[in-house]
């Protein structure tokens, strides 16, 4: 849902703050598109309604899109929410419409950090939002960001404590990343410091793992049984269908992506065309390489054959052998790119 109240400082997503008037037409286009795709789909095991800010729009047409899809029994259906939008009424509507999980964009429990990130919700909004989700029986993920301007180690500890106190099922903690073209990118004085972010990553890892949240991907931790299935699908080269503008899909070895703006998306769908802007098909070798690059990020690691022995020697301390797999160590998670650039196609067998 590419509509936001206000653009956050660091955000490079395809989202708009001045096109709310397009929302109704856009949602209808999504519904029509979903209905058109549905007959060709196997039962879907997960749905992720991402941002923009899906919690801002009227839930009824949003859920109508969902209703068109052949959702499998017991599927995971996640909606991204901003804390200030999620009240008991909306949560109940979501649950009734088949939603099973919300991912709440908390980012920080410290007011001046939220401010520096250009987020506008009050810290106090998070508790009630989580309570509302719980009341409706929804699983809860909290999204956190570390490395905002002026955030001390103590501030980050406050945020981690604040999150744990609400007992979510799942926590994602991302390092603030400078994306080109954002206001943040234009102001080097506010760019995060690598060492500080490394420290904070380790803080997150310490606290979350001590509190019973198991690490399963670089930036993701979950209570047993609550890993995000949708994410796992991305990282295991699973198939997924794109719905909505700027969405990406992956089917039968082809990655494709939709047109970027909601208007163009609606135009295409209304004209009966597929709103695809581009696609790529990879050679089998390249596909296998991509698979290990993605898998490296996760607890599953990569086959030993994906990392040549010389590189393994250069990366001492960053990867460890577990059976026939190589898995990132805690230090290795921080330097996953260093490892990923050295991965090779592990061959047919793997």
């Amino acid at each position: 849902m590419p509509f936001c109240r206000h653009r956050c400082d660091y955000c490079a997503f395809a989202t708009w703050t001045d096109r709310d008037h397009v929302a109704a037409r856009y949602l209808e286009a999504c519904r029509v598109h979903a209905a058109r795709l549905a007959p060709g789909l196997a039962p879907v095991t997960s749905v992720f309604v991402g941002g923009g800010t899906p919690s801002r729009v009227d839930p009824t047409p949003l859920l109508a899109v969902l209703a068109e899809l052949p959702v499998a029994e017991g599927a995971e259906v996640t909606v991204e929410c901003n804390p200030e939008d999620l009240d008991a009424g909306r949560a109940a509507a979501f649950a009734a419409g088949g939603v099973t999980r919300v991912s709440i964009g908390v980012q920080s429990f410290v007011a001046h950090v939220l401010d520096a990130l250009g987020r506008r919700h009050p810290v106090e909004a998070v508790g009630p939002a989580v309570a509302a989700a719980r009341g409706a029986g929804l699983d809860v993920n909290l999204d956190l960001i570390y490395g905002g301007t002026g955030e001390s180690r103590a501030d980050w500890a406050t945020t981690l404590d604040g999150a744990l106190a609400l007992e979510p099922d799942h926590v994602s903690a991302y390092g603030l990343t400078v994306e080109p073209g954002t206001p943040l990118a234009d102001d080097p004085s506010r760019h995060p410091d690598d060492d500080d972010q490394a420290d904070k990553y380790l803080d997150a890892s310490d606290r979350l793992e001590a509190a019973g949240y198991g690490w399963y991907e670089i930036s993701n931790w979950a209570r047993p049984g609550h890993r995000c299935r949708h994410n796992l699908l991305y990282w295991s080269m699973g198939d997924y269908v794109a719905l909505g503008c700027a969405a990406h899909g992956h089917r039968d070895g082809v990655r494709y992506w939709h047109v970027r703006t909601p208007e163009r998306y609606a135009d295409e769908v209304e004209a009966g065309r597929e709103p695809v802007a581009g696609s790529e098909r990879l050679e089998p070798g390249a596909r296998r390489l991509e698979a290990v690059q993605l898998s490296l990020r996760t607890e599953a690691g990569v086959p030993v054959a994906a990392l040549p022995p010389a590189d393994r020697a250069a990366l001492v301390g960053l990867v460890e052998v577990r059976g026939d797999r190589l898995v990132l160590t805690r230090g290795g998670r921080l330097l996953a790119n260093e490892v990923a650039t050295r991965l090779v196609d592990p061959g047919e067998a793997a």
Binding site: G50, S172, Y174, G175, T177, D194, D195, Q197, A198, Y201, E217, I218, S219, N231, Y234, W235, Y240, A246, A247, H248, G249, H250, R255, W257, E280, E290, Q293, L294, R297, A314, L315, L318, L334, L335, A336, N337, E338, A340, T341
Partner: protein, 594 residues
């Protein structure tokens, strides 16, 4: 041709005083270039000359004036190209000494005037740019009289821009400059004063016939080279080449003799006719010695063979630079090149890049040192990395210059300070006129090579000018500073400096590299050392994290491409002491300007 009707002249001056612009007016006024074909700086035919607005190579043209024939050579004013001026003068009986009436006498005015006097040439002094509001011809004339001893009333006044006075100047050339002498019946002796390589014609040489007659079709003996070539074509430039049957004594023109290598038709060569050969060659020239050296390396190592070919070709047109292959642990395979000066170095490099489509890294310029070893041997080195271990060095000699700085008196103090900072020893301070001072210093060449000129210009708002000549070698307290990356010396950054400046160089280099070298998986010490002693140190802390952002479905393609790019980048990095250094780091670290 009747000798009395010939005049051979060069226009000489300080840089930018208007030599080439004056040549434009002469081409126009004599009628050999029509208004339609005229363009500014007509004789500056190289792209680089036109872009930079300076003359790099001499150009010779033949023009008719008042029943006479004048051969005029436009010369460069920049000190690096002094060799072009001395070659031109050897083909002349007189010069037009041009002085910018707004600037007055500058360093190369003096230097070139002395050169003309040494060659016993008649000097027609002439003030240019009298159209400029800032021009002060009367004062300038007084200065010329006071400094050069040329009576003020004899100094002509022209504007090469408007053409005012140019006709009178040409009249004066004919009236005041003696015609050539030469014996038409004597055996042929012609001096080659310039040669260049033409893609279609091979080597084209500029010649001045001293005695006898050079005829098309004759069998010519190149006396120094000891080779014989047929005169395929001889001619005059006016300004386009026009073949002629013969060039008589005193005449200037060109010669094409089917030669493919400029080395076989070097400037200074004497050409005679095998039918009636001369006994003795003419005096010739001494080859100029390169003064500054640097390594040139292709940024893309695969371009090494292309660089070699480019150097070979470029040398066909500019025999004054030298090159020989060398290799560097940091930069790969390249060439150590010698140049006449910094501008020459810049121009050669730029021509290689532009005319041959190469991207190059140049190491910091160096000079040629003489190292006396404890074993009693002497080694000449022009690359700091060739320096024997300090423990085997007894003493080091470096080349010195005598520099002459002409400046308005106001800046005397700041220039003396500059020279002293650069280890200069004052030779003299002389008031050329109440407003103008000449400072003469002995300064090590190495000190002049490191931004001396820019410093001089910026301290004097551009008013001071510099001339220099080599002045032997002298022992100095020099040391070699090594820069080590993870304990491994990086040859490209080694530098020979005075002991007192070693620490400063070491510190600056370490600081610069700290900024440029990306963090690695381990701490990287950067050290500067003299002998085994560390004089400066910085550390690039180990990298602790790379990307910790989200990786959702839409990111997968982007992430993969990013990884591919990083992989490519890694391949291009040079590995020194296990440290991966991107090529850009070398390029930036070696940039001269900071």
């Amino acid at each position: 041709m009747d000798l009395d009707r010939l005049r051979n002249i060069s226009i000489i001056a300080h840089i930018d005083h208007g030599k080439t612009t004056l040549s434009d007016r002469v081409l126009e006024l004599s009628g050999i270039v029509s208004a339609r074909d005229m363009r500014a700086q007509y004789l500056d035919s190289m792209d680089l000359e036109r872009e930079r607005g300076i003359t790099i190579k001499l150009q010779s043209v033949r023009i008719p004036w008042r029943d006479h024939v004048i051969n005029l050579i436009d010369t460069p004013g920049h000190v690096d190209f002094g060799y072009e001026v001395s070659r031109s003068l050897a083909a002349c009986e007189g010069v037009v000494l041009l002085v910018d009436a707004a600037q007055g006498i500058e360093a190369q005015t003096l230097a070139n005037c002395y050169l003309a006097l040494e060659n016993d040439l008649e000097i027609v002094a002439c003030m240019n740019k009298i159209d400029l509001p800032a021009a002060d011809p009367d004062r300038c004339a007084e200065e010329i009289e006071a400094v050069l001893g040329i009576p003020a009333e004899e100094v002509l006044r022209i504007s090469a821009k408007s053409g005012e006075g140019v006709g009178d100047l040409l009249d004066a050339v004919i009236d005041r400059i003696p015609p050539p002498t030469g014996d038409a019946d004597a055996p042929l002796r012609a001096l080659i004063f310039d040669s260049h390589f033409d893609q279609y014609r091979g080597v084209v040489s500029s010649v001045r016939v001293m005695d006898g007659t050079m005829r098309a079709g004759a069998k010519l003996r190149f006396m120094q080279a000891g080779a014989t070539h047929g005169a395929e074509e001889i001619g005059v430039r006016s300004p386009d080449p026009q073949p002629v049957d013969a060039l008589g004594p005193g005449e200037t023109g060109y010669l094409i003799a089917g030669i493919k290598d400029v080395g076989a038709a070097k400037s200074g060569e004497t050409v005679t006719d095998t039918a009636a050969p001369a006994d003795e060659p003419l005096a010739g020239y001494r080859d100029p010695k390169p003064m500054v050296f640097c390594g040139l390396y292709p940024i893309d190592g695969d371009e090494f063979p292309d660089l070699r070919e480019a150097l070979e070709k470029l040398r066909l047109n500019d025999s004054s630079f030298t090159y020989e292959p060398e290799s560097s642990g940091a930069l790969g395979f390249g060439f150590r090149c010698g140049f006449l000066g910094l501008l020459h170095m810049e121009i050669v490099r730029e021509r290689l890049e532009r005319e041959f489509d190469l991207s190059l890294i140049a190491t910091a310029p160096s000079v040629e040192y003489r190292v006396h070893t404890t074993k009693g041997t002497v080694v000449e080195i022009d690359n700091p990395s060739e320096m024997p271990p300090m423990s085997e060095v007894d003493s080091i000699e470096e080349p010195w210059l005598t520099v002459s700085i002409l400046t308005p008196t106001d800046y005397t103090g700041t220039l003396m300070e500059l020279c002293q900072n650069r280890r200069g020893e004052m030779v003299k301070l002389e008031y050329l006129s109440p407003e103008r001072v000449e400072l003469r210093y002995r300064v090590p060449l190495a000190e002049v090579v490191t931004d001396f000129f820019d410093q001089m210009k910026s301290r004097t708002q551009g008013y001071a000018s510099l001339d220099y000549e080599a002045d032997g070698y002298g022992v100095s307290a020099l040391v070699k500073v090594d820069v080590l990356l993870n304990s491994q010396p990086v040859d490209a950054f080694s530098m020979i400096v005075h002991r007192e400046k070693a620490e400063d160089y070491g510190r600056r280099m370490c600081e610069k590299l700290k900024e440029l070298i990306p963090r690695q998986l381990f701490d990287v010490p950067i050290q500067a050392a003299v002998g085994g002693r560390i004089i400066a140190r910085q550390t690039v802390k180990a990298k602790r994290k790379d990307v910790l952002s989200k990786c959702y479905g839409g990111d997968i393609t982007r992430k993969r491409k990013l990884l591919e790019r990083q992989k490519e980048g890694k391949k291009k990095m040079k590995s020194i002491g296990r440290v991966e250094v991107p090529q850009e780091a070398f390029v930036s670290a070696l940039r001269l300007d900071d």
